[in-house]
Structures are given as structure tokens and as C-alpha cells.
Amino acid sequence: MKHYIILTVILPLLVAFLLPTIGRFSYFLARALPPIILIFSIVITACVYNNETAPFALHIGDFVAPQGIVFHVDSISLLMALSVQVFALFLWPRRSFKLQSEQIVSNKRYSLMLLLVASANGLAFSGDLFNLYVFYELLAVATFGLISFDTNEANQARFAAAFRYLVISATGSVMALLGIALVYFLTGTLNFAHLATQQANLFNPIGLSAFALLLVGFGVKAELFPVNSWVPEVYSAASKKLSGYLAGVISKLAVLVIIKALLFIFPHSEAAYLMLGLGLAGLLIGELSAMRSNDFTRMISWSSVAQLGLVFIAFSIPGQAGIIAGLAVLFHHMFVKTALFLIAEKWGGRISDLHGQGYLNLIMSGIFIFVALSLIGLPPLPGFWSKFLLLNGLAGQEYYFAIAIILITTVIEVNYLFRVANHLFSREDKPVLPINNHHWFDTLTASLIVVALIVAVWELPTINDQLIIMSDQLLDIESYVNRVLISTENGL
């Protein structure tokens, strides 16, 4: 059973390779196959999750670690993979064409989407630095292709946005490759478990620089502060469902990679301070820019930068408190941001154009109010608990400066989110624009997210237990090393 978890990476790749060819013979098959594969890999992931076998290490090709590549499967990576696949299924691009010639284009888009899912799964599981780099690049290339697809030909900005994103991302990749080279210079290995045993070699300024280079490199997708100028451009130019997927789910996988690097390569306070500083800068810049923007999409893009800043601040708290707070903020943001981008699908223009829409579309505006309240952190919504855990952890470390900034930015958050709410329910005597209603499936997905958040309030103790289990597994480096490096013969 254990080895079949790799099918979640392999099968999407296989189908993606064959999809353009299949599509030439049967368009129906090409449309039906990707969701079937996604459901199949969801079933596999869920089975492994329920089987209580996790955590375990999967040696690809049965080569003994650290020579071979290892997939390390634990609760957090299974949960991330599960969310990647489930969100992909719900945010799957709808059919857009009827013309024969354009079906091919549509198939290519499905193909890229499958590559995106496969690489995200790979990022969740992989336990090897260079393998992570390869999956990260695959994710980037698939993203560039998906961004530059739009049915609205008037949207020429998407190419410029994709190109500028590519330049930033490629610069980040060069930095990450340099970081990998430095790590290899110092230790002669790339396996995380093996690196953890070599930490003494890395505890010097060179190790810190290697970590900083990796942070910048992998931080591009995680919307980290100095390399996040692509965020509002890409999310404005790309389709909103894709933006929701990138902001909600994909950025979290980049965060997970950085956390792994922090725990296994450089678990020292200097690295944590670096992350804290960059996170605070991202939080401030994100919230201030969100307040200044007049466009709904742009506003939630900047707010996404700010939220990921919060995630980095949380993970920079040493010890278990930091991991728990970070995971809570991370999962909360995953749901909330996806819902916000689903709302932006039809309301993506100027905020002032939205006035009066709340009365026309009560469901969506209700969802918006609920999600906004959770994002701000109104008790007893899940957002409150995640922010509470974060502030608690910061207070434990006496980072009062960070607490002050978080509280100030919360006020800013209230300001801009309620500006939108004011427009939605404004009683001003202006004509209400006849905006199309959201597609029923998007409304359903957004409602499901709200239901999930409400259930989360009832199930708080269970979630707390799960978070503790996950953080225990992440922090228990010794048994991680044992699982990966000690022989695997009995695992078959």
C-alpha cells in the first residue's frame, strides 16, 4: 500500500503527457479523464491517511537513502496533498469552447493543470532538496502557461504579467540553485534527513547564507517580501479561479518547503529572525497596499501577501507553539483566500462599481461578510483562533513589536474589507450595475468553504489535536532521520 502514494504524482503526469494526443481522437475522453484521475488520487491519499501507517518514508526505486530520493509521507504532507487535489477538483477550469480547433487549446490547458497538481503533490512529499527544486520549476512553468491563457482577447496584460513573473521566478531559481550548491559544498548531501545529521557543518555564516538564498528562491511562490511584486499583476491578469488556486493552495506548498529547509538545514535563531523580519515587512506592505487599491482583485491579492507574511511570522516562533500557530494560519488562509477569489470571479472590477450588489446577490455577499469577519479574526470564527494562537506564541517569545504591528494591520484589514461591505450594501441612489451572477458551481464551492469554516468552529478540539500531532511529527527530527536513513527492507 505504502508505495502507491507515489501514484498521486505519477498518474497526473502520465495523463498530462497523453492528453493532447487523446484529445485529437476523443474530446469527451480528454475532458473526463483528468477529474477521474484526480478523484482516484484523492482516494489513494485518503486511504493512506486513514491507514495509520503514516508517517513513513518511501524510497523511490528502492535505492537506500541518502543516495536515492526519498518521499517522506506524514500527516502534514498527506493533508497538503489532499487539499491540492480537492481544491483542484473544485476549481477545475470549465469547458470554454465549442469549436474543434480550440478544443486542442483547451486540452493543453487541462494538461498544464494536471502538471501543476502533480508538481504540487511532489512538493508536499519530497524529502530531497534538488528534487524539490525540480518540482518547483515544473510548478512554475505550468503556472506561466496557465496564466497566459484567457478567453478574453482584450486582456493583453496577461503576457506582460506572465513574463515579468517568469523573470522574477527565474532569478529566484538561480538563487535557489546557488543555495543548493552551497549546501552541497558544506555537507555533500541533499537528503533532508541526512542534512539534519550534518547540521554542525551548516552552523556558520555560509550555512546562513545558503538558507537565505533558498528562502529567496523558494519564497517567490510563497509571496515572500522582496520577491512578491508579481502577486497583484499575475492575480489581476489570470483567471480568478486559477488565482484562487495559486494564492490559496500553491503558495502554501512553497511555505512548506521553506519550513522544511528551516527545520532541517538551519534551525537557528538567526534564520528565524530573518523570516520574522521579512514576514513583518510583507505584512505591512501587503496591508497598506491593499488599503490603497481601488480594485477588488488587487485588494485581495495584496491581502494575500499580508496573510502569507503572517504565516512566516508564525513559523519564525521557535518551538511547537510556532509550528501550531503557523499551520493554523496557513490552513485558515487556504480556505478564506480561495473563497475570496471565487467571489472576485464576477466582482473583480472597481470596488465602487459594487455598490448595491449585496441586495441582488445575497448568498455571495453573505459569504463575503462571513469570510471577511473570519479573516479579521472575530471570535468565535476560526480566524480568531488562528490569530490567537499566533499572538499567544509571539507573547511567549516577548516579540511585542510584532504583536503591535499585527494589531495595527488588523485595524487596516477591518478598514478595507468593510469598505467593500459598505459598497455592497450602500443605500446610495445610484443605478446598480447588472453584473452577471456567479456560476452555480462557484457559489456551491464558496458555500462549502463557509460550511467547512463553521464546522471547524465546532470541531476546534479535534483540529487542535490534529495540529499537535502534525507539529510533533514535524519537530521530531530524530525519528524522521531514523525512518529515512535506517534500512527499509521490512517496509515492503
Binding site: 470549465r94 493583453q156 506582460a160 532569478t171 538561480v174 540553485l177 550548491a181 541533499l190 489581476s236
Partner: protein, 138 residues
């Protein structure tokens, strides 16, 4: 007179990296940004190969009578193989994007492209909620 080999090699890698990253940051022409990217990637690759180099060792290929001798580390070489091919794929994709940007905006100047893009965003933002816009289907 001649500096020792390690400083020569390292300065080669550093030079390529700095020239490449500098070009990425400071170039105004989109095509030149692409060339800078090629150079920066070459520098990172050279760094990786240097990481596996070993004095008085042979290339990691068994020849002759297959007696084991000290060899240079094969792992970074395998990684560089992968990185080179990845680089070429990204480069080709970047070129297609440049072609579309040139077609759309008629310029390769990065500042100009950014300006035109922001203008497009403003226009899209205004049009997004106007009646009669295309039924978009993402």
C-alpha cells in the same frame, strides 16, 4: 604570478552570477533580460560542478579494466545535466512570451511594458463590471 586554480574557478562562477543577476535587474530590454538569465544560470551550474570537483580524480566513468580509482562526485554532475535542460525549456517559453508582449505592446522596453500593463489593468478593472462584457468562462 598566476593565481591558484580555485580562486580562478570561483571568480569565474562569481563573475557569471553577478553579471547575470546584474543584467536581470538592470537591463531595460526584454530580450537582454533573457540573455542575462542564460548567463546567470550558467554561473549557478558552474558553481554546482565545482562543488563536486576533487583533486587527482578521474571522470565518473569506469573504463579499461574497471579498477576503482578516486572519481569526482557524480551527483552534482547529474544535477547540472537536469538544470541545463530545465534552463533551456524556461528560455524557450520566455521567448514565446516576449513575442506576444512585443505583438501586444510593440516594444521590448521593460519600463514601457510595465507602464502599458498597468494601463491595461486600469482599463480591465473599469470594464470588468460594465454591462455587455463577454461572458467569461474560466
Amino acid at each position: 604570478m598566476i593565481p591558484d586554480i580555485s580562486s580562478i574557478l570561483f571568480s569565474g562562477a562569481i563573475g557569471l552570477l553577478v553579471i547575470g543577476v546584474g543584467g536581470l535587474l538592470l537591463s531595460n530590454n526584454a530580450y537582454r533580460v533573457l540573455l542575462a538569465l542564460v548567463i546567470a544560470e550558467a554561473g549557478a551550474n558552474l558553481m554546482l560542478v565545482i562543488a563536486g570537483y576533487r583533486w587527482d580524480a578521474i571522470a565518473p566513468i569506469l573504463t579499461g579494466d574497471f579498477t576503482p580509482q578516486p572519481m569526482v562526485d557524480p551527483v552534482p554532475q547529474a544535477m547540472v545535466l537536469t538544470a541545463i535542460v530545465i534552463g533551456v525549456g524556461v528560455q524557450a517559453l520566455a521567448l514565446t512570451l516576449i513575442i506576444r508582449v512585443k505583438k501586444a505592446y510593440g516594444t521590448l522596453n521593460m519600463v514601457e511594458i510595465k507602464k502599458r500593463m498597468e494601463m491595461d489593468f486600469d482599463r480591465l478593472s473599469q470594464e470588468a463590471n460594465q454591462p455587455g462584457k463577454l461572458e467569461d468562462n474560466s
